[in-house]
Symmetry: C3
Subunit: 133 residues, 3 copies
């Protein structure tokens, strides 16, 4: 972790440029620093996955509205201030990315952060060593 998942209506897929947004948001996450100047999240555990939903309905379903939902799952234990900084940074970057689309499209953007409460957590990775030099 952090595990950032973007779930969105596929009606904006051709305009959404989601590959670019994924890279930008990964950049946001790995750039975050805590009060001691240390990375908030492990770089090697950072991933952003975006999924267009081929079937969808938004609000009363009477128009072809769009929705983009970001859910960031993080390990428990960070302080509230840093979680707010992380959420605000994700929302700001996402708003900027969709600024033009938002001006012409009826759409909602929501960002939420969950602290994972998993009862089992294990990994196997050759990514962490790359970034823990």
């Amino acid at each position: 972790m952090p595990h950032l998942k973007i779930e969105y209506t596929a009606n904006i897929d051709t305009q959404a440029d989601m590959g670019t947004l994924c890279k930008a948001l990964a950049g946001v996450l790995v750039a975050l620093k805590d009060e001691q100047g240390q990375p908030v999240f492990p770089i090697g555990g950072t991933r952003v996955l975006a999924y267009p939903a081929p079937y969808h309905a938004v609000a009363d379903g009477k128009q072809d509205y769009a929705f983009v939902y970001l859910n960031l799952r993080i390990a428990a234990g960070r302080n509230d201030a840093i979680k707010k900084v992380a959420g605000d940074a994700l929302l700001a970057r996402t708003k900027a990315h969709f600024e033009s689309l938002f001006s012409t499209t009826l759409m909602g953007i929501t960002v939420q952060i969950d602290e994972g409460v998993q009862v089992y957590d294990a990994k196997h990775s050759n990514l962490h060593p790359l970034f823990n030099k």
Copy 2:
């Protein structure tokens, strides 16, 4: 929110008519009223997203079983009765939608509601004003 996600095995995709179900379930959610006759959920925050899983295995995996899983994420704080009404309404509508398919297919349908326990929650939307007139 409410954020309703449908995760299902793609082996029923051609028969499932998921676009219709998404619209129907959005309709169920926005029509729900509380004891005071007010909408249970904000219309502009309602979204239904359905995702067929291209790879899947159900039960012992020995036959091509199907599964449809509905997860509704809502904000915390509503009373138990209203949550049961919401869940029952979603299940009833989904059962009705799949009545014919269910009679010829080995499949499971599950509906669950989670109260989101997010540590960060923010939005940017031009949908809410449409429905808060």
Copy 3:
């Protein structure tokens, strides 16, 4: 439940053989026995769904890294030992499946188990009777 979802970067999709992994992991789940020799999970409620993310970024996003995230959602109430056995079995099978790919690809594999804390849970299934004979 159990509800096992695999979210992964689509850059490994042609090599990942996810259909095989789904079947193998369903097999792992249904084969698990508790201290009394009884199945840990109901067979008819077991499903494995794998979703390639068409858009993604991992770590610093500077290379085309891969990620495979397994999230198993189970009902609350089982003991810690059995949850560890389940998680370890899923991780071991997944590591074995990707052993060759892992040797040539920069990738992360994570397995987490969540105990569902749903406030509503209902089902409609013709699968359970098949396995409760």
